[in-house]
């Protein structure tokens, strides 16, 4: 599964994308974030405040309880500040 990071979250983690194998216990977006948090301090810093995380799956915004599969493309980023 490909994961893309943007803005503050990209900077916290230190990379803009990575490929991971989805562990069998990870069913939803929030499972995935909990899994990523264990990968290191850079990840846990990036995801420290759940209010400040937004997620898109296959280029559509989704909620934290959205169900994901190994074929999905995930993007994780802070709240948007466009306009």
């Amino acid at each position: 599964m490909n994961i893309f990071y943007f803005a503050r979250i990209r900077e916290n983690i230190g990379i803009s994308s990575e490929e991971i194998n989805l562990p069998s216990g990870v069913k939803t977006v929030s499972d995935l974030i909990r899994f990523l948090e264990d990968k290191g301090d850079n990840y846990s810093a990036a995801f420290a405040e759940s209010d400040l995380i937004r997620v898109a799956v296959n280029n559509d915004y989704v909620g934290l309880d959205y169900k994901i599969t190994d074929k999905d493309e995930i993007a994780i980023f802070p709240p948007m500040t466009g306009g």
Binding site: A7, R10, N59, A75, P79, M80, T81, G82, G83
Partner: protein, 149 residues
């Protein structure tokens, strides 16, 4: 309808000319331009970098445009959003709405701007006299968007 996500600057007068070109049925044209300010709160801004999510940005602008076309009797509209490094005085975003009636043009432009603030996948980073930081999303902007629902 013209939707563009671009690094290059845009010319407001030229964009208005494009949208009204050859038409004599438009009664109202509303525009909104968002610019980089040199001051934000207590900080002096030297530079603003706009990061965006290329695969989603144009698609989300199109979604916002289509929603506004459904809600108001618009004749046409333009949304241009820039990304990349910008400096005080630079254009960030342009919205143009045209309609037979002024109310529709005004309301739709305001609606689009409110949605862009919270739903377009862009992130602003400011370089100030006190260092650099990502601009925080405002709760107030979410409220402004939600008045429309």
């Amino acid at each position: 309808m013209r939707i563009s996500v671009q690094a290059e600057d845009f010319d407001i007068g030229e964009e208005i000319s494009k949208i009204r070109h050859g038409r004599t049925d438009l009664g109202a044209i509303a525009t909104f331009t968002g610019l980089v300010r040199d001051i934000h709160g207590d900080h002096v801004i030297r530079k603003m970098t706009l990061e965006h999510f290329p695969a989603m940005a144009e698609k989300e602008l199109l979604k916002i445009a289509e929603q506004s076309m459904k809600r108001w009797p618009l004749e046409d509209l333009t949304i241009i959003h820039r990304y990349g490094p910008l400096y005080p005085g630079d254009n960030i975003v342009l919205v143009i709405t045209t309609s037979h009636h002024r109310e529709a043009a005004f309301k739709a432009a305001q609606f689009i701007m409110d949605w862009l603030k919270t739903d377009a996948p862009f992130w602003k980073k400011e370089e100030t006299d006190m260092g650099e930081h990502w601009v925080a999303a405002k709760e107030d902007d979410t409220k402004k968007r939600d008045r429309w629902t």
